[in-house]
């Protein structure tokens, strides 16, 4: 077997000069894996136009080196251009492992590059481990969070994985003195078959506190029954300086603030200090997203609701009775004595 360079790569994601929140998570995990395996190099790959300033952020987040590819053609993400550059860089440098954030973009880019390389790819990994011999264990969830499978890519390189956002905490920033390698973009792009053009990327940062940053999450499910009651949840979240989250059924009913508040396999993974769930039955699709919460309190009128099994405290009651009382009790508790 040829001697391979033992490098772990993390593909950075940025939109309009802002790093995706998953990127420091992926880099932090790459750093931990490198330590687990007895020390290998961690590199970040950054593509875009005028994004050089972010390279230092990537060093501070755990990269030993950054491959920086800047070109006007890379201003807006598109799978032909980004896929071509990444494929060529990986072929040239032959890293052992390449990690992506499992965002919408990563979810498209990773399989594109894996297909070009003819290698295996683990999807939306929630666990990663690296053995000293370089074999990556990829833990993935299937069947709506009901089944955990360990996956390996024993014979092909690189080993590739997309990493579910919210699973791995980023490392504390440490001003690094790593290396920034500027790549010649025109060489990496030459002859690329560009079949789709990105016209624009529209992003609206949602109002209110992001679920990922909240110490308290007040979540509601289908049992909430309507917009009127939903307002009470929002009010409670505001009273606790927290955020409001939802399940897929509540989102589909149109009661909530939008998809960015959905928790679970197809939504976010959250880790608040306290999670309060109202009218949530507790399908694994949802509960997998709150498994790292500090304390879970569930309020549901059905004593057999599966959510009670994965809660610390269970309130078997109609939330319509509990919620208004809780609001006034909290308001009273907050008044300085």
């Amino acid at each position: 077997m040829p001697d391979r360079k033992r490098a772990l790569w993390a593909v950075a994601e940025q939109t309009r000069g802002k790093l995706a929140s998953v990127t420091p998570e992926v880099l932090g995990q790459a750093r931990r894996l490198a330590a687990e395996a007895g020390g290998c190099e961690v590199a970040a790959i950054l593509l875009g136009k005028d994004v050089g300033a972010l390279a230092n952020d990537l060093l501070a987040c755990g990269a030993d080196k950054v491959f920086l590819v800047e070109d006007p053609a890379l201003e807006l993400y598109q799978n032909d251009t980004y896929g071509t550059v990444l494929h060529r860089l990986i072929r040239r440098e032959q890293p052992e492992v390449v990690l992506f954030g499992a965002t919408a973009v990563g979810e498209e880019l990773a399989p594109t590059v894996a297909a070009r390389l003819g290698t295996g790819l683990g999807a939306h990994c929630t666990n990663l481990a690296l053995a000293p011999d370089g074999l990556l264990t990829m833990g993935v969830l299937g069947f709506g969070g009901r089944l955990h499978t360990e996956m390996f890519c024993p014979d092909r390189r690189p080993q590739m994985a997309s990493v579910k956002p919210g699973m791995f905490p980023p490392l504390p920033r440490e001003e690094g003195n790593g290396e920034i390698l500027r790549e010649e973009a025109s060489a990496l792009l030459s002859g690329a078959d560009i079949r789709i053009r990105t016209v624009r990327i529209v992003k609206e940062e949602p109002e209110g506190m992001p679920l990922e940053d909240a110490d308290v999450i007040v979540a509601g499910g289908w049992g909430i029954g309507g917009k009127e009651n939903w307002r009470l949840l929002t009010e409670l979240a505001r009273e606790l300086s927290g955020a409001t989250g939802c399940t897929r059924p509540a989102l589909d009913e149109g009661w909530t603030d939008g998809e960015h508040t959905m928790i679970g396999t197809s939504g976010k993974t959250v880790r608040p200090k306290v999670y309060l769930g109202f009218g949530i039955s507790g399908s694994p699709h949802h509960t997998v997203g709150i498994k790292d919460a500090g304390v879970i309190i569930s309020i549901n009128s059905d004593p057999r609701a599966p959510v009670f099994e994965c809660s610390d405290y269970c309130v078997e009651a109609d939330f319509r009775k509990i919620l208004p009382l809780l609001l006034s009790e909290i308001r009273r508790a907050k008044v300085p004595a």
Partner: protein, 268 residues
């Protein structure tokens, strides 16, 4: 523009409403799927709906392609009843153990065998495995443009395509042209119900079954041998907690909750 040759990739999956009942055989460590009825993967119905709308507008044919056991014909009837013209099942023991890339090779071979295509549509991800890799990888293997996470799509005269793909807190707007492979999300449309007429018409529609030799797929390209990924241990994640029931009147319960909030330091 003339008529469209449309292909929809579909997958029969165990009914997602049964996933609570998933068990692992303690002896073999394998997944036990018995008693879980197969249904069309929910996202694939949205792909089929989009194809049917395009067929209504431009004329043409809609072929469903599925890598599945022969028994999948039963599940595919629903798609035929919705309005697809034919179904092709790519079925061979040699395909067992295929990872997403090997699956995509088989699907790409099936699509090529049907003939020239304008647009391949698929659900963005399956409810069971859910890698979301297949649309992008089929596009790569067919050597055509591809998009994942499509939430809106317009095909213009002359085969131009404008589309929106979903990203976190927004969308990407793109332009391209046919041929193309797209993975669609459920936001894109509302799939039609099957009508009695549709169910009756489905009985007469062709369902083909193609083996690896029909597809020209060799052993090194599919199944375990053709796959980079190997599954290891399966387990059922355990999310159980202590589940203490807060008893007493509503007022007492609420005071307990407030005490917990205070103890966790989140009462400000």
């Amino acid at each position: 523009m003339g008529e469209l040759n449309l292909v929809v990739l579909v997958k029969p999956v165990p009914d997602p409403s049964c996933y609570d009942r998933i068990e692992i055989d303690p002896a073999t460590g394998a997944l036990l799927r018995q008693g879980m009825p197969a249904v069309l993967n929910p996202a694939d119905k949205h792909a089929l709906e989009e194809a049917l709308v395009l067929k209504e507008r431009f004329g043409g044919r809609v072929a469903m392609v599925s890598m599945a056991p022969d028994s999948a014909s039963e599940t595919l009837m629903e798609g035929l009843a919705m309005g697809a013209d034919e179904a092709c099942i790519l079925s061979d023991r040699a395909f067992a153990g295929s990872d997403s890339l090997a699956t995509s090779r088989v699907l790409a071979a099936g699509i090529r065998k049907i003939g020239p295509f304008d647009l391949v549509l698929a659900g963005n991800e399956s409810a069971d495995g859910g890698t979301a890799h297949v649309p992008s990888q089929v596009g790569e293997l067919l050597g055509v443009a591809h998009l994942a996470n499509v939430i809106r799509m317009e095909v213009g005269p002359g085969g131009s395509v404008t589309a929106r793909t979903r990203i976190e807190n927004g969308y990407i707007e793109v332009r391209g042209s046919l041929p193309m492979v797209v993975g669609v999300r459920r936001e894109i449309n509302t799939p039609r119900y099957t009508s009695l007429m549709g169910v009756m018409a489905a009985q007469g529609k062709p369902i083909r079954v193609w083996r690896s030799e029909d597809l020209g797929v060799n052993a090194a390209e599919a199944g375990m041998e053709g796959s980079g990924m190997r599954p290891g241990k399966l387990s059922r994640p355990d999310y159980r907690r202590k589940g203490e029931i807060l008893k007493g009147s509503h007022e007492e319960t609420v005071r307990r909750i407030v005490a917990i909030l205070r103890a966790e330091g989140v009462l400000g």
